[in-house]
């Protein structure tokens, strides 16, 4: 089960990485519009659920830490080292992932890169662990739950009393919680965490979101913000009356603030999904990106760079490729109101199946290549 959770995080995580660095010949599709919403929502909620599960798993194998003699052979030493790498990378991956979602950057390194490299180390050590333990895993899956003894201090194949060696033996009577009881209690705890967190992705569960990190209905225009205008340092330039959008291509032109409203005639319902897992559906009004691209001499096959007023952030520009060029909107309105300054006033990009950070805000310039 844990292996499935870790695998899910790995696959959805790699999909998220692909949002940042798609290959030119295989651009992100524009539909289904909710694809990234589902994969990254799954990534974060699965990750949050894995954290307590790992605690239970480690607790159940804790006695093995004290098995004596500590190392019996070179092979055994290598195995224990691999378990150390597994445990350490899992704990660090899960805690830093969770803290990152809370915007609590308690480390000096670039989260995205280290999170990805550590994911390789973690998944590698899990694969190695599975390879080493395959016989035990098979035994564990075959044994009936109340009688399984894979978790005792002695490995089952060295234990003459193990059920697999001694045949069916009734489980020892205990006034304490049984193995099944532990699983039920842990499942209840993890289930409560999931139900009370997932409201930040699944709107109907927002009212019970007692542990939800984000609450979309508390954001301006009922959408949360990830980088505010102040954090981006654009409060002054973005509200300047002399603002223009410069569109460069074979036939360059500019759009002024006054012209925006005339051009912004298209509407679309598109979710906005943050890399941090929260997402919310929203209603947008704006200019189809393709209109401006065509006016600048490009077409649906062009590569389009959108550039923000924001300075000095890797997310101050992004590239629109392939099907998203035709599906993207340069939004002026959100949920029936003029775009809030924190949402990217006067103009921002919104495209389907696209990570929030790549929906560049406070646009200043567009390059049609």
């Amino acid at each position: 089960m844990l292996a499935i959770f870790f695998g899910t995080c790995f696959v959805t995580g790699l999909l998220s990485h692909y949002q940042y660095q798609p290959w030119a010949w295989l651009p992100e599709p524009a539909s289904p519009v909710w694809l990234y919403r589902v994969t990254q929502g799954t990534h974060v909620i699965t990750g949050i659920a894995t954290l307590p599960l790992v605690l239970v798993k480690l607790w159940s194998v804790y006695p093995n830490l004290f098995r004596w003699p500590a190392v019996t052979s070179l092979k055994h030493a290598a195995e224990r080292l691999s378990v150390f790498v597994l445990v350490a990378s899992a704990l660090v991956q899960l805690t830093t992932g969770f803290l990152n979602v809370l915007n609590w950057y308690a480390w000096p390194w670039d989260f995205v890169a280290v999170h990805r490299f550590l994911a390789y180390v973690l998944i590698g050590s899990i694969l190695l662990h599975v390879g080493l333990k395959l016989p035990d895993i098979r035994y564990g899956l075959q044994a009936r739950l109340p009688q399984a003894d894979v978790l005792t201090e002695t490995p089952w194949d060295q234990n003459p009393l193990a059920h697999s060696n001694a045949g069916e033996v009734p489980p020892p009577p205990t006034p304490a919680l049984t193995r099944r009881g532990v699983l039920v209690a842990a499942g209840a705890g993890v289930g409560a965490v999931v139900v009370t967190s997932i409201g930040q992705t699944v709107a109907p569960l927002e009212p019970v979101g007692l542990l939800a990190v984000r609450q979309w209905n508390k954001g301006p225009q009922r959408v949360p913000v990830n980088t505010t205008a102040q954090q981006a340092g654009v409060q002054a330039v973005a509200v300047d009356q002399r603002w223009t959008l410069q569109v460069n291509g074979r036939t360059p032109f500019t759009v002024t603030l006054a012209e925006l409203d005339d051009l912004a005639r298209s509407e679309a319902d598109l979710p906005i999904t943050c890399v941090e897992g929260w997402s919310v559906g929203a209603h947008w009004r704006g200019i189809p990106l393709l209109d401006l691209v065509a006016r600048a001499g490009g077409d649906a096959g062009s590569r389009v760079e959108v550039i923000s007023l924001q300075q000095g952030s890797q997310f101050a520009r992004s590239t629109v490729l392939g099907p998203q060029v035709s599906a993207a909107l340069l939004a002026t309105h959100l949920n029936g109101e003029r775009l809030n300054l924190d949402h990217g006033y006067p103009l921002r990009l919104i495209a389907p199946n696209r990570a929030g950070v790549l929906n560049t805000k406070w646009l200043a310039r567009i390059e049609v290549v």
Binding site: L91, V92, L102, W109, Y120, G131, P175, G189, A192
Partner: protein, 154 residues
């Protein structure tokens, strides 16, 4: 089976080494030292503090709680402990970002109290059901024994 084991292990080693290689070549040394500190620290905190503390609590329950109620206390503590582990960072971090981000704008301490209350209530209900069942069983065993003393019943 052997082929499976070897392919799992070999692909795992390759992927892991690839990750280590990317870390070593693309992350500045200073940050790698801090990362190593995090990894060792995580294991030390978990194995050295958290697990022994859990075992101490378990030992205490074994002595202090009568056998019949023990599993309900343990179950409640497992579920509640896991919820608390997730809630603590939320409590520590609440209210530190601008309100328009709509992030961590709840009173998570209060919310955690509600959730723990629900867990405690559920454990109590389960325990009460157990007590009720035990009482019914003893009573019906007694009546059965009174009516016709049959050995199987006892």
């Amino acid at each position: 089976m052997k082929a499976w084991r070897i392919s799992f292990a070999a692909s795992g080693i390759l992927l892991g080494l690839f990750g280590v290689f990317r870390l070593l070549t693309e992350v500045p040394v200073g940050n790698l030292v801090v990362l190593a500190g995090w990894m060792i620290g995580a294991v030390v905190i978990h194995d050295g503090i958290l697990s022994p503390a859990v075992i101490a609590v378990g030992w205490f329950i074994g002595r202090a709680v009568p056998a019949r109620g023990r599993r309900y206390v343990q179950g409640g503590l497992i579920a509640g402990g896991l919820i608390t582990a997730v809630a603590i960072p939320l409590i520590l971090r609440a209210g530190q970002e601008p309100p328009s981000k709509a992030i961590l704008q709840q009173s998570f301490g209060g919310n955690l109290t509600i959730l723990l209350g629900l867990v405690a209530a559920a454990s109590l209900v389960l325990y009460a059901l157990r007590v009720a069942r035990d009482t019914r069983n003893t009573r019906s065993a007694k009546t059965a024994a009174g009516a016709e003393p049959s050995p199987e019943r006892l």
